[in-house]
Symmetry: C2
Subunit: 268 residues, 2 copies
């Protein structure tokens, strides 16, 4: 298992451009040897910002074709529209000349003032960080979750029954997330945050890998410095697919990102 | 205002291919003269199915660059991966050589058996169809909502306060949707359904047009024949943008589609 800390900025760095970028997928930002889907979206988002000069990712949508391995990849970026307030970008991550992830981005500015209006955002109570349970880089049965050596993810013990052999029966995980390199979350890091938690379905149904088919992220505001609070919920398993919604709040309680994904789920 | 009924299949028809398709955006599937965003996604989805031979749209994500006008458009389709169970497609809608909508699709089969598991899907009570209020093609102040001449949308009167000058104060709209040409919903028509309702924010804040930046749809099952039940909710307005979640159930109560969008919202 690869060890040692790598800065998030370095793990997601892209070089080249303005249309063809190169990146080196880090072997530590992986689960079972495969780069995490949110991490891949962050790498693509970095290229989208580089290509446009816009400050933040506003909305990102990715479809996952085949999982790349750690190592060199190419990112082809097409700036589809350059606007004053937002620009739109198409980006494709390729390895060995094969498309692995294709994504669309709307990039631009983020909210500056206070929240205008909010209703019905779930109230999710998460215990203080020091009473949550850290998730380490070695999972049950020696399962390799290297990425947990790069981040500080602490989950509410009440939602971690499966680790004790007594699944909670609820498909919700909640906790606190920080980057171990000490940097604060920006819009690119939030693209990782919306896919950072283990599958929420582990608490209701044993399964193998839950590979993402589609991941959409909306960044709503620049987070305040420090850890973010994250909740991930599954709603429906049908036809071997599951949806998961993810919400991310900063330390001031502001909702800073929303994620939704559709993934494959197979019985263990 | 254009009148007369056009079949959904005809309004979303594409010809040509396998890479370059042509379509004719119908002047009746419009709001204020502009084709509805879900209708545009349906046209793109039709091309994605044609190009792959897959039966259903499973997941679709679109970013909206500029609104096309009714009339001829070209759709460029790239089949990125052809798989046994799902294929992935990139599709771009262009008018006068300018990109208007860019979308990604995962296409393939849908659930055949019963729902495996469900939790936390909001219970949304909608009155029977005959006690809901039809939405006509002429909105307040003569506003042109031609598309309402093509569909049978009936909303719960309790969520229609703004039409009576007393907004409900809640950003939720709920009702029943059917296609007036009598055809049942398939996965392509569900791409329209997730963007069929007026902005849920009309009940909390007067605003002008609420143009969609990003729209994601997951199709979870083939609906049973007949009208579908639809609810659309906004959660957060921040930085001049609003998110809206849409859920669609068929007549048997099965959740058949989930939509999420990020849109611009400007004070009226």
């Amino acid at each position: 298992m690869p060890t040692g800390l790598v800065a998030f900025a370095a793990a997601t760095a892209v070089v080249g451009g303005p249309r063809d970028y190169r990146a080196d997928l880090d072997s530590r930002w992986t689960v079972a040897g495969r780069p995490n889907g949110g991490y891949l979206l962050a790498v693509l988002g970095r290229a989208a910002l580089e290509a446009t000069g816009q400050p933040h990712v506003v909305a990102a949508s990715a479809h996952y074709l085949r999982p790349p391995t750690p190592g060199p990849v190419r990112i082809e970026v097409d700036v589809l529209r350059s606007g004053r307030t937002v620009s739109q970008v198409r980006a494709t991550l390729r390895q060995d000349a094969r498309d692995c992830v294709v994504a669309l981005f709307t990039v631009g500015g983020l909210a500056a003032g206070p929240v205008s209006w909010s209703e019905g955002v779930p109230e999710v109570a998460v215990p203080p960080r020091d009473r949550c349970q850290p998730v380490g880089p070695v999972g049950p049965g020696g399962f390799d979750v290297s990425i947990m050596g790069q981040v500080d993810l602490r989950l509410d013990p009440a939602c971690l029954g499966s680790a004790r052999g007594r699944p909670s029966g609820h498909a919700e995980l909640r906790g606190w997330l920080a980057l171990l390199d000490g940097t604060d979350f920006d819009s690119v890091a939030l693209l990782y945050a919306v896919d950072a938690l283990p599958p929420a379905t582990f608490e209701i149904a044993p399964s193998g890998w839950v590979p993402t088919l589609e991941l959409t992220a909306y960044v709503r505001a620049q987070p305040s410095p420090g850890p973010v609070r994250v909740v991930q919920r599954a709603q429906l398993i049908d036809g071997g697919r599951v949806d998961e919604v993810c919400l991310v709040w900063d330390g001031t309680g502001r909702l800073v990102a929303q994620g939704t994904q559709l993934a494959l789920i197979r019985p263990a």
